[in-house]
C-alpha cells in the first residue's frame, strides 16, 4: 500500500512494573481513515492499547509509531474519550467542552459555536451551565464525547464511550459519529463490548484475547459507508454480528481468566 | 565652657542608639537635647529609642549608629569577639541591674540564693559570677521584660532594673521590693557609651564635645529642673508617667548611680571611666571562662580620651 500507516504496532509488549504480561508481541497497522473497533474480554488490555497510542504509557518492548514518530513525539492530534468520564470538576459543562480549544488559542466565538454544535450532538445543549457533579453518569460520558469531537482530531480514541447509554441514545450517537466521519477523515480506535455496535461503526474489528492480551482475529467489515438504519437490517450485517459474537465467545473460552488464583 | 560654634558652621550629626525605650535612665541625653546642650556644642544629635531588638553593639559596630548605650560587661564580651567598638564614657558608675526580692522574702544575702530559681536574662554574666564566687547552684528562668512572674510568685527572685521595675511592681499592687545589687558582690559593671573605633578615630573633637554636653545634661537633670527632659521623654514614650519619672530620678539620686557610690563620688565623676576597674572586670570575666584569656586589655576596651579633662 502506498499510504503509510498512521498507527503501527510492531511486536509491542507491555507490562506494568513487574506485573504479568498485559500485551504480548502485538502487531497492527492502522491506515488513515480506518475505523477500528476493539472488542475482547474485560481486562484483556483494550484500554492499555489506547493508552499506548496516546503516549500515556510507554511500551515495554517492540516499536509503536504514530505518524511515523514515537507516540510521545507524534504531532498527530489526538482526542481520547476515557473509559471513566474525566471532567474538570471546577468547570461547567460548557467550559469543559471548550477548554481544549481554549488551550489551542481558538477565538471565543469559534469556540462557542463548536461547543454548541458538540453539545447539541450529544443532546446536552440545555446543560451547558451545570457542573459535572450535577450530571448523570451517561450525561458525563456524553460531555466527554462532545469535548473530544469538538477537537476535530486526526486520531480519535474512544474507550467504551457508549457503555453507559441507553440503546436509542447510543444508536443516535453511532449515526452522528459516522456522519461526522464523512466530513473529517479521522482514524478511530473504538473500544466497545457491543459486537453489533462494532460492526455498525467500523471497517475493521480487532478481537482480542486476554492473559496476555493478543489480537486473536481481525474481522474486516466490508459494509459500504454511509451506513444507515438499513444497514442494520441487512443480511451481511447480521452475519457479521453473529460471526463476531461467536468469535468473542471462543476467545473468552481460551482466555485463561482468573487462572492464576 | 563649651566653645560656641560659628553660626555658619554646619552641625555635626551624631546618632545615638539607646538600649531601651526612652526612660529616665536616658535623662542625661534628653535633658541635654531639650536644653540645647548638644546644639550648643555644635552637634545635631538624634536619639533612637531601643527595645529588645535594639542590637546596640552590632549597630554601633557597623556604623548604623555612631554612639550606643550598653553595659560594660556585655560590651567587653563582644569586644572580645572582635567587634570594633570602644567604650568611651560612663552612663552609670554602676549598672542598676540587680536581683529584686519580695519585701518579706527570707533571702537577704547572695548566699541565700543557693538552690533558688531566679528569673533573669540567661545571658546575664553576673549570674555566673555569683555561682563561682559564692559556690552557688541556682536555676535560671528567662525574664521577658515583664514583672508578671515576680508579682505572681511570692518567693520569686527576678533580675530587674532597680530604677524602673520596682515602680511597676508597686503600681500593680505589690510591695516595694528589696534589691541585691551587683556592686555588693564586687561585680562593678558600668552602664557605658560605646562608639565604633573608626568613628572614634575620625571624629575625636565631636565625641569630646558630645561627652561634655552629655555630662552637662546629666548634671542639669539631676541637680536642676528635670522638666525639660521629662517632657521630651513623655513625648518619646507616652508610657512615661510623671510619677514614674520622678521615682526613677529619685532612685538615680539615692543610689548615686550617675555620680558614683564610692568615697570619691560626686558630680565630677559623671561620665568617668576607671581603667583599673576595667582591669578587674576583664580578669573576672576571664576567670569565669566567658572571655578568652588575654584577648582584651583595658586599653583596647576603653578610652578616657574623650572625657572632659
Amino acid at each position: 500500500m502506498s499510504v503509510p500507516p498512521i498507527v503501527e504496532f510492531h511486536e509491542v509488549t507491555k507490562r506494568f512494573g513487574d506485573g504479568p504480561l498485559v500485551l504480548d508481541r502485538l502487531s497492527l497497522a492502522a491506515q488513515p481513515g480506518d475505523f477500528l473497533a476493539v472488542i475482547g474480554p474485560s481486562g484483556c488490555g483494550k484500554s492499555t492499547l489506547l493508552r499506548l497510542i496516546a503516549g500515556l504509557s510507554p511500551v515495554t518492548a517492540g516499536r509503536l509509531t504514530v505518524d511515523d514518530l514515537t507516540p510521545a513525539d507524534a504531532a498527530a492530534e489526538l482526542a481520547f474519550v476515557f473509559q471513566e468520564p474525566t471532567l474538570l470538576p471546577w468547570l461547567t459543562v460548557a467550559e469543559n467542552v471548550e477548554l481544549a480549544q481554549k488551550l489551542r488559542g481558538t477565538p471565543a466565538a469559534a469556540r462557542a459555536a463548536t461547543r454548541q454544535g458538540a453539545l447539541d450532538l450529544v443532546r446536552l445543549a440545555d446543560r451547558g451551565g451545570a457542573y459535572p457533579r450535577q450530571l448523570s453518569g451517561g450525561q458525563k460520558m456524553r460531555v466527554s464525547l462532545a469535548r473530544a469531537l469538538s477537537l476535530s482530531p486526526k486520531i480519535l480514541l474512544l474507550d467504551e464511550p457508549f457503555g453507559a447509554l441507553d440503546e436509542m441514545t447510543r444508536e443516535h450517537l453511532n449515526e452522528e459519529l459516522l456522519a461526522i466521519r464523512e466530513q473529517k477523515a479521522w482514524t478511530a480506535f473504538f473500544v466497545t463490548h457491543s459486537v453489533s455496535e462494532a460492526v455498525f461503526l467500523s471497517n475493521r474489528i480487532l478481537v482480542m484475547s486476554a492473559n496476555p492480551g493478543r489480537i486473536h482475529t481481525e474481522i474486516r467489515v466490508d459494509l459500504p459507508y454511509p451506513r444507515t438504519n438499513d444497514t442494520r437490517l441487512s443480511r451481511a450485517y447480521h452475519d457479521l454480528v453473529a460471526a463476531g459474537s461467536r468469535l468473542l465467545r471462543s476467545v473468552e473460552e481460551i482466555s485463561p481468566v482468573a487462572s492464576r488464583a | 565652657c563649651p566653645t560656641a560654634p560659628a553660626a555658619d558652621q554646619p552641625l555635626a550629626k551624631i546618632t545615638v542608639q539607646l538600649d531601651w525605650i526612652a526612660e529616665p535612665e536616658h535623662g542625661g541625653f534628653y535633658q541635654a537635647q531639650a536644653r540645647g546642650f548638644f546644639r550648643d556644642a555644635g552637634l545635631d544629635v538624634t536619639l533612637l529609642p531601643g527595645g529588645p531588638g535594639a542590637f546596640v553593639m552590632p549597630s554601633v559596630a557597623t556604623g548604623k549608629a555612631d554612639v550606643g548605650q550598653a553595659d560594660s560587661t556585655n560590651a567587653l564580651l563582644q569586644q572580645g569577639e572582635g567587634l570594633p567598638v570602644i567604650q568611651f564614657a560612663a552612663v552609670f558608675q554602676d549598672d542598676p541591674s540587680g536581683i529584686l526580692i519580695h519585701a518579706d522574702s527570707p533571702v537577704r544575702t547572695f548566699a541565700d540564693l543557693q538552690g533558688k530559681t531566679i528569673i533573669a536574662r540567661p545571658e546575664w554574666a553576673f549570674l555566673k559570677f555569683l555561682q563561682k564566687k559564692y559556690a552557688l547552684t541556682f536555676n535560671v528562668v528567662p525574664q521577658n521584660f515583664s514583672v508578671a512572674a515576680f508579682l505572681g510568685n511570692k518567693s520569686a527572685l527576678q533580675q530587674g532594673y532597680f530604677i524602673a521595675e520596682p515602680f511597676h511592681i508597686v503600681q500593680a499592687g505589690g510591695k516595694m521590693p528589696r534589691f541585691l545589687a551587683t556592686w555588693d558582690a564586687g561585680f562593678r559593671s558600668y552602664a557605658v557609651l560605646v562608639t565604633n573605633t573608626k568613628f572614634a578615630r575620625e571624629h575625636p573633637a565631636e565625641l569630646r564635645a558630645f561627652v561634655r554636653a552629655y555630662v552637662r545634661g546629666w548634671r542639669d537633670y539631676l541637680e536642676g529642673d528635670p522638666t525639660p527632659a521629662h517632657a521630651a521623654l513623655k513625648k518619646a514614650n507616652p508610657g512615661n508617667t510623671d510619677e514614674f519619672m520622678m521615682f526613677s530620678r529619685k532612685m538615680l539620686l539615692d543610689e548615686k548611680l550617675v555620680t558614683g557610690r564610692d568615697s570619691n563620688g560626686g558630680p565630677q565623676l559623671i561620665g568617668r571611666l576607671d581603667p583599673a576597674r576595667y582591669a578587674t572586670q576583664i580578669s573576672q570575666l576571664e576567670d569565669l571562662g566567658i572571655l578568652k584569656k588575654s584577648k582584651l586589655t583595658p586599653a583596647q576596651a576603653m578610652t578616657t580620651e574623650f572625657l572632659p579633662r
Binding site: 471546577w90 | 527595645g51 531588638g53 557597623t62 508610657g239
Partner: protein, 263 residues
C-alpha cells in the same frame, strides 16, 4: 430548631461559655494571681482607655502584617510552582526552605535590622518568614496531588506546562492552597507583632502592637496587654474572614468540602 437559628446560636453559646469560663478561671485563681488574667470587662476598659494608642499601633502592625502576608503569598505561589515541577527539585530546594523557616528570628533579626533597616521593612520581612512556609508546603502538596487522569488529559492535548498549571494544577490545588492561606492569615498578625518587638522601632510612629505589648508587659499593665492581644486577634479574624470569603468564592460550586446534603 431551624438550622439558620442554630448557626447563630451555637457560636454565640460557645462565646458565652468561653467568657463564663474566663471569669470562672479569673476568680478561681488566688487573689494575688488574678492580675495575670484580667477579666473581659477590664480588657474592654483598657481597650477604651488606650484606644488611640492601640489604634495607631494597630495601623502600623496591619501594614507590616499585610505586606508580609502578601509577600508570603506571592513568593509561596512562585516557590510552590517551582517545587511542583519534580521530586528532584523538591529534594534540592526543600531543605533550604526549611532552613529559612527554622532559623530563629533572634539570629536573623540583627542582620535584618542592619540591612533593611528597622521598622516596617524588617517587620514585613519577619512576617513573611513566619507566614510563608505553611503556604509553600500546602501549595506544593496541592499542585502535586492533581488527579492523574486529568493530568493525562492535558498531556494528550499537548498543553504547555504553563497551561497545565493555569488550567489544571492551580485550580486543583486550590483546596490545599486555601488551607495554607488560612494558616498564613492567622500567622500574619502574630508574625508582624513578633517582628515589631524584635526589629520594630519606636522612632517616629511609636511602633506597632509588638512594642505596645512589650511596654504594657514591662509596666505590668495587664488589661492593656490583653487588649493588645485582642486587637491582634481581631486583625487575624479580619484576615481570615477575607480568606474564607475568597475560598468560598473559589470552591463552593464544586469542591466536596462545601458539599451539602441536597434538599
Amino acid at each position: 430548631m431551624s438550622r439558620k437559628f442554630l448557626n447563630v446560636l451555637l457560636p454565640a453559646a460557645t462565646g458565652a461559655l468561653v467568657i463564663a469560663l474566663w471569669y470562672g478561671v479569673h476568680f478561681w485563681l488566688a487573689a494575688e494571681m488574678r492580675f495575670l488574667l484580667p477579666t473581659p470587662d477590664a480588657i474592654l476598659a483598657a481597650l477604651r482607655d488606650n484606644g488611640d494608642a492601640l489604634w495607631r499601633a494597630a495601623l502600623n502592625t496591619t501594614a507590616g502584617a499585610l505586606l508580609g502576608f502578601l509577600l508570603a503569598v506571592v513568593v509561596s505561589i512562585a516557590l510552590g510552582l517551582g517545587l511542583s515541577l519534580s521530586s528532584l527539585v523538591r529534594a534540592s530546594l526543600y531543605p533550604y526552605l526549611m532552613i529559612l523557616q527554622m532559623t530563629p528570628i533572634i539570629v536573623i533579626a540583627p542582620i535584618l535590622v542592619l540591612w533593611v533597616g528597622p521598622g516596617l521593612r524588617s517587620v514585613t520581612v519577619i512576617t513573611f518568614l513566619i507566614c510563608f512556609f505553611p503556604l509553600v508546603v500546602n501549595t506544593t502538596q496541592g499542585l502535586i496531588s492533581t488527579d492523574r487522569h486529568l493530568v493525562e488529559l492535558f498531556r494528550m492535548w499537548r498543553a504547555t506546562r504553563g497551561q497545565q498549571l493555569l488550567h489544571l494544577r492551580v485550580p486543583a490545588a486550590l483546596p490545599y492552597f486555601f488551607t495554607g492561606l488560612r494558616i498564613a492569615a492567622t500567622l500574619a498578625p502574630i508574625g508582624a507583632l513578633v517582628g515589631d518587638y524584635t526589629a520594630g522601632s519606636s522612632a517616629g510612629d511609636g511602633g506597632g502592637l509588638g512594642f505596645s505589648a512589650l511596654i504594657y508587659s514591662s509596666q505590668a499593665k495587664y488589661p492593656a496587654l490583653f487588649a493588645t492581644a485582642a486587637v491582634t486577634c481581631l486583625l487575624g479574624f479580619i484576615f481570615t474572614a477575607a480568606v474564607l470569603a475568597l475560598s468560598w468564592l473559589a470552591l463552593h460550586k464544586w469542591h466536596d468540602s462545601y458539599e451539602r446534603a441536597d434538599k
